[in-house]
Amino acid sequence: MIEVRQLKKRFGPQRVLDGVDLRVQKGESIVIIGRSGGGKSILLKHLIGLLRPEDGDVLIEGQSIARMNERQLLKVRRKFGMLFQGAALFDSLTVAENVAFALQREGNLPENEIARKVDDTLEMVDLAGTQRKKPAELSGGMRKRVGLARAIIYQPEIVLYDEPTTGLDPIVADSIDQLIVRIRERMAVTTVAVTHDMRSARRIGQRILMLHRGRVHFTGTPDEVFQSKDPEVYRFVNGISDPKEPNF
């Protein structure tokens, strides 16, 4: 369903992605792990065409999106829902308006049908009754849930998560993980999540992929990753810094 071929990306003198290859099957749930600044979010943004590769290709259901213009990409993006690290809610709109945004822009459904879908989706993310609130009135966990509701209301085939549990306490983080699994099971969506939270990676990933120095360094099931003796993987999973390397 998603295929990445030799993806390269550089920002100024810094090469962030240096030939990433990746294949995600329909219905699969993969988690991309790696150190901060290692290019995880950059890779995720390439999958949905928010960034353009310097070299290489991204194919969605066999269709190359790397050279598409913005208007062509809009059609491809209809297959995607994306939850941003900071939720990226439109702060001038209410919760209900945020969640209804995509359906209202499409204009294919009557208002009462959109309102019903908003209610159902908010209930699915355990936020019933928050329709009239503004994003500024919500906690971090609630904002992520609204962001998720906005991303899934139009029933996308693929859902992308950029650091879904970053900045949340462990209990809220666990509830977000459970929600991600619930959405995957109920809606049969393909899931790609980026995180450096290993508890979260274990819970939501069927396959974990580690990015290191701009390439895919390791791929395996959660058990394989947690039992790996590869020094890079071992250090990352167990949170052990290398005294020879600056850690920032």
Partner: protein
């Protein structure tokens, strides 16, 4: 030094090209009628209604001071009754459109750049794109249309208020004769002067909306990036308005015969 100047020139030309491309994209969006009507109405309110006090004060005091200063000079050569003719021509074709555009650039242009800049750094513009919405359709076109619709009206209002204020000051405070002032004003003020002002306002509106939206949508990360984008939006809009005013005056004077 040459390398630095060359890089600045290339950067400037690149920016100009990108703003032009933004204008082309906005025009295509307009033709395809991909307009967010609700957003457009809000922007009309924000640009038109909320700018009233700024525009009225600017127009009134510009008209009054122009009247006073012109009178002081004309009085020396016994041309008191020509004062309001000068005021109405200057307000109609130059001061009305330029000062209104500069004030709106300061108020509306800064707000546009800050709002879009904040949306960019908080990934709200990326979120729009993931929701299959082109940022130009949703963010730029309503702001551009609202400014192009509102600024000529604000300019006309500013011209009217300026002339009225000047007339009041001239006839009551400075003692200019009502009948001669009115007669000379009508004699020397042509419809072309006001038409020129309104055409200028349309051009200034497009310039300030496009520059402000471009600066906001392309701002750098963080609070500093938003601050810089806001400042640049106002400064570049103002400079472009002042420079384009000169060329528009030359062009429109020939075209309209004003």
């Amino acid at each position: 030094m040459n390398g630095f100047a060359g890089n600045r020139l290339i950067g400037w030309l690149e920016g100009l090209g990108r703003i032009t491309m933004l204008g082309v994209e906005a025009a295509q969006s307009l033709i395809a009628q991909r307009i967010g009507w609700r957003n457009l109405i809000y922007q009309l309110y924000f640009v038109g209604v909320k700018s009233q006090s700024v525009v009225v004060i600017t127009g009134a005091f510009t008209g009054m001071v122009l009247c006073a200063q012109t009178y002081f000079q004309f009085h020396k050569v016994k041309m008191d009754t020509a004062t309001l003719a000068v005021v109405s021509v200057a307000m109609g074709s130059e001061l009305g459109p330029v000062l209104t555009a500069l004030m709106v650039a300061g108020r509306v242009g800064a707000a546009m750049a800050a709002e879009l800049g904040t949306m960019r750094v908080t990934e709200q513009i990326d979120a729009l794109r993931t929701l299959a919405t082109h940022p130009v359709d949703y963010l730029v076109v309503p702001r551009l249309l609202a400014t192009v619709a509102a600024l000529p009206l604000l300019t006309a209002e500013s011209i009217g208020v300026g002339i009225l204020a000047a007339y009041t000051v001239g006839t009551t405070l400075l003692g200019i004769d009502h009948a001669y002032a009115w007669h000379n004003m009508l004699k020397y003020t042509q419809p072309q002067h006001v038409v020129m002002g309104v055409i200028k306002a349309v051009v200034f509106a497009a310039v300030l909306a496009l520059i402000s939206c471009y600066k906001g949508m392309n701002c750098r990360e963080g609070a500093e990036g938003v601050g810089r984008a806001t400042t640049e939006a106002v400064v570049y809009s103002s400079i472009t308005i002042l420079i384009s005013n000169f060329f528009l005056t030359l062009f429109l004077t020939r075209l309209l015969g004003a």
